[in-house]
């Protein structure tokens, strides 16, 4: 059952990803992107990572993509973006990236295709049982990895301040 569901959601995710590239209008691309993000969230649920699934939907599908939609609609983007993306250099780059990705996948599946629960998986199960869906992520995030977490926060803050400065400059 879970395997069947996985293939359904994986197919939707891949189809959505192709749709992002092939859609005629930017709004269509964006909706396909939402479909991809939503099916990724479903795959997270199948992996029992409920919190990640919720955050995936709330942050990416629910907030960031809405802002994208807002910007696309506000600027009323037409078809003038196409020549930016359909150059020869971009085609070449995408083929290189696809090749690298395929290489990584082949290597991963060639070496350890076994799906026995590993030590890491058992540790995750124990953490879920002890701290709950949110605590299992929050505990390591605010204890072991608190410094990288805070640095990431500062990085985002710097990005926001930078964007503000640029926006103000453009307005004058």
């Amino acid at each position: 059952m879970i395997e069947v569901l996985f293939y359904v959601f994986a197919a939707v995710a891949l189809g959505g990803a192709l749709g992002v590239v092939w859609a005629k209008s930017p709004v269509g691309s964006l909706l396909y992107m939402v479909a991809t993000l939503a099916s990724l969230a479903c795959i997270f649920v199948l992996l029992e990572a409920h919190f990640l699934a919720a955050i995936q939907v709330i942050v990416y599908a629910g907030a960031i993509m809405v802002l994208f939609l807002f910007v696309i609609m506000l600027l009323n983007l037409g078809h003038d973006y196409q020549r930016d993306l359909k150059g020869g250099a971009f085609s070449l780059l995408s083929f290189v990236i696809i090749g690298l990705m395929a290489g990584v996948l082949v290597r991963q599946f060639g070496e350890n295709a076994i799906t026995e629960p590993t030590a890491g998986g058992r540790a995750i199960d124990a953490a879920l049982a002890q701290h709950g869906a949110v605590g299992a992520i929050a505990q390591p995030l605010y204890t072991t990895y608190v410094v990288p977490f805070e640095i990431t926060g500062v990085l985002l803050l710097v990005a926001i301040v930078g964007a503000l400065v640029l926006a103000k400059k453009g307005g004058q």
Binding site: A41, A54, A61, G62, V66, F70, M73, G132, A133
Partner: protein, 428 residues
Amino acid sequence: MESLQPISGPWALIAMSLKVTIIFGVLVLVVAYSTLAERRVSAWIQDRRGPNRVGPFGLLQPVADGIKNLLKEETLPATASKAFFVLAPIFVLVPSLMTFAVIPIAAPLPTPAGIVDMIIADVPIGILYVLAFSSLAVYGVVLGGWASNNKYAFLGGLRASAQMVSYEVALGLSLITVLMMSGNVTLTEVVWQQQQLGMWFAFPLSLAFILFVISAFAETNRLPFDMPEAESELVTGYHTEYSAMKFSAFMISEFGHMVTASALMATLFLGGWDLPGTWDDAFWHEGQLIRGFTQDGVIVLANPAWWKTVLTFGGFAIKTSFFMLLYIWIRWTLPRFRYDQVMALGWKVMLPTALAYAMLIGGTILVLDEVGIRWGFSYGLALTAVSGVATVGFIFFLDRGRTIIGAAGQSRQKISITGISQPATAGD
């Protein structure tokens, strides 16, 4: 003899199917009748009679509306993007009817086969599930506005996206205090912690309650926040071009959001299905249904009964209806905000207040835990005092001396209009 074990095996499947069918059916029925309630209450507030022709007291009006909407012509504007135009009502309708699944509606019901929880899905992410689906609802509104290819509809869609993104921030931040108190995100645990505290979170978290109610009004696009469909400015905003069942889908989802938001406010801040006293408390703790702990931490087993389930469901229904009534009441009491006022309130008032309040409550909880006060009534009283000061300060700040101080403010205003010549009164 009734067992105190959760229901399992084939009976669990039957219980689940029944729960889904009944709760979904009741939800749709409540949504249908809240449209009638809105029209009757608005008529009552405006001293009219309202719809009272179809059936006794107009009770069959929703049926008549439904038949009318099914039989009307579906229009499709020639310049609309057809696929998105048809998809938009579906995108709005589905999330609004799905979110109710994680809200507990009554105390667990004992049956001969085991105990049935009165909640469709007690998912481990609880409230986050609600946030996730309500954040997806904006797509339908925005797409409907964009796909119609009508400038009024488009402006409505733009306003909807900006407004919902803005108020989601304040909504989430006011929720954080509730999560700090309950220690978990599942709604069953939120209800349980309110039972353990001996008071509903509306008192110890009064300011969060106010902020949450305001944000929920903005998220459901109801007056005074109905900028996306402001009739006096945008015809009817994002659903201007919609007719018949597609229009009806937008209406059903608006009322569906109202019902879910009301149930959520009742659960988070008014104890959900909890009634005063500890007789109805019940929670799954390490495989046992417990009512609480004694002073030494020994488990007291719960004693579920069918009449407790019925009574607590009644309590839940009354609390939810109260918030539904509040929605309608405010719609016919307050005028609509200006768009810049909505944005200013969201970003300059609600967001900083919610952030500061989360800090205040977090600090207070830390102090109370360090001092060693047990989680219970006195704990709640201390938080109520702190929150009360914050709430009164917030209200006076928002009021800026206009309504509450009242008379004093008026006398100051009088001085400023002395320049205008007064008509001479008779007998001077």
